[in-house]
Structures are given as structure tokens and as C-alpha cells.
């Protein structure tokens, strides 16, 4: 009888500790999953920085995530065809976000707000985006560079399982 009581007690205590352990494990796994998702997102955004900081788009090499409006205009024109094998991604697009606009107007053009720098035309592409500054040199007018807020959108090809 006494052994039974003791065995019951041990089982009860173990059961209790297992429950507590499961509770902690649940929280820990949740943290790991959240952390992994956050790291993956940060990694994708970091790779956007590589594109934004390329001399072909960058306004000033000392400032990260700052695009040159004049370079964007050039890269969206006929000149972009020469760069088709250059881009390590499926697509590169830049939108002007602020000042806000009513309709999307593709560049080059008057009052345009959307620069399609490169589009490979591939399907099954996942897009990542991040905010950037779009700056224009105004020094000839005696002023500092004028910067607006834009969004760099880069498409990455998703590999399908065969």
C-alpha cells in the first residue's frame, strides 16, 4: 500500500514537471519560429541593400539605401537593355511613395512615379521591398539635393521542386 502511494506520488510529480516542461518548450519553440521568420525577412531586406548600393543606382556612395533619380531615369530608358545580364535578380522596380500620387505613371515621362529598371519576364517570382530615398542633385540651382521617399521592389525567382 505504501509503495503504491509512493509510486502514485512520483508519477504525479513527474506528470506535473512534464506539463511544466511542455509549457516552457512551447514558449521556446514559438520564440525560435518568430526569430527565424524575422531573420529571413532581415536577410531579404539586407540583399535589397546590395542592389540599392550598386553604383549604377546609388546617389552617394557614403549613404546607403539612397537612389539617384537621374540614374533611375537613365536605367529605365533604352540604356537598360545593355544591363539585362547584369542584374542578379528577376526584377528591379522603384516606386515613388511620398509625395503620394493618384495613378501609376511609368518612367521615363513627365511627372512619372514608377521606374521599371529590369524585368526578366519570369513567372513564379517572389518580391521583397524596402523603403529608400530617391535623391536629385540640385546643386546647379544653388540648393542641397532634394530627396523623396520611394520603395525598391526586387523580384527573386522561386525554384520549383522537380
Amino acid at each position: 500500500m505504501k509503495i503504491m502511494q509512493m509510486a502514485f506520488m512520483i508519477v504525479a510529480v513527474m506528470f506535473f514537471f512534464v506539463l511544466v516542461g511542455l509549457f516552457f518548450l512551447g514558449i521556446w519553440v514559438g520564440d525560435i519560429q518568430g526569430g527565424a521568420a524575422s531573420l529571413q525577412r532581415d536577410k531579404a531586406i539586407s540583399s535589397l541593400r546590395v542592389i540599392a548600393d550598386m553604383p549604377e543606382l546609388n546617389y552617394d556612395s557614403s549613404e546607403s539605401m539612397t537612389l539617384d533619380e537621374d540614374k533611375l531615369r537613365i536605367m529605365t530608358g533604352d540604356f537598360s537593355a545593355a544591363y539585362e545580364v547584369f542584374w542578379p535578380v528577376a526584377s528591379v522596380k522603384v516606386y515613388l511613395v511620398y509625395p503620394a500620387f493618384d495613378e501609376v505613371k511609368k518612367c521615363p515621362g513627365f511627372n512619372c512615379n514608377y521606374y521599371e529598371i529590369y524585368d526578366s519576364g519570369q513567372s513564379n517570382v517572389k518580391e521583397y521591398s524596402s523603403y529608400v530615398s530617391i535623391c536629385k542633385n540640385m546643386k546647379e540651382l544653388g540648393g542641397e539635393p532634394r530627396c523623396e521617399i520611394g520603395k525598391l521592389v526586387v523580384g527573386v525567382k522561386i525554384h520549383e521542386e522537380q
Partner: protein
Amino acid sequence: MRNNKGQQEMVGFVLIVVLVVVGLMVFLVISLRDGPDESDSLETSHILSALMKYTTDCAIVYEPDYDAVEDLFKSCYEGDRCSNLGVSACDYLNESLSDILGDLMESEASVNAYQLDFFVKEDDGTQGLLRIDEGNCTGNVLASQRSIVSGSDSLVIRMKVCKVF
């Protein structure tokens, strides 16, 4: 004697349970306190960088020497006025930030709330100068902050964005 031993076992068991519950409570309090707040994010950092570089229409001294938002924070702290617009830098900053952040966050479907704080660091703590916020925060809180120097004072701009993934 037998009853006494049973009581001792009961007391021992209760003690173990109480100990574990106390440990659990401590863990819960710590995890809740450090939980969703202030997870430094690259995403928010980029929003804040783009915001700080945005050139406003406020010229403190002469046109076309317009202030970027970062300069406007300093001008606001120093009590300057936009000479071309005839308004105080702080009023213009408040209006511009609400406008810019409203438009930026409108384009982000997953963002349900945001908050931007502008405060000055002092020896005995911080003094809030401006706060712009909107929405009810649910989901993950992503935060980032920038420090700028005005004279001998350190100004801090902190941004929090609530995002549902």
C-alpha cells in the same frame, strides 16, 4: 505517526508545486516585460532613414536651402521658424510627419499602427517633445531609433510599427 508522515508528504508536495508556480510566474513576468516591445528591425530602420532624408518645403534661412526632416527636428528643438512659410518649425514638422507617415503606412497593408516619438535625452531622463501615433497595435512591434546632436544636446527619434505577418 502514520498520519503525521502523510501530512509531511502532502506539505512536501505542496512546497514543490508552490516553488514551480513561483518560478513560472517569474519567467512569465520577465517574458511579458521583454516580449513584443522594441525588437530592433531593419525594415523600420529603412523607413526611418528614408523619412529623415526627405526634403521638406521649409527653408529656415533662405530658399532653396530646404531642411530635410532630420534638420527640421533640430530646427524645431532650437525654436526656429520656416522663413519662407511663416510658420514655426515644430508646427510644420508635426504637420509634415503626420502627412508623410499617414501616406507611408497607408501603402502597407500589414501595418495596423505606428508611433513616432521625438525626445531629448537629459541627465535625469528624457523629455518628450513630439509624438505622432495612429491605430491600435496588434501583432509584432518593430522599432528603430536615431540619435541626432543639436549643440550639446542629444535628440532621439524613435519609431515603432505594429505589423501583422
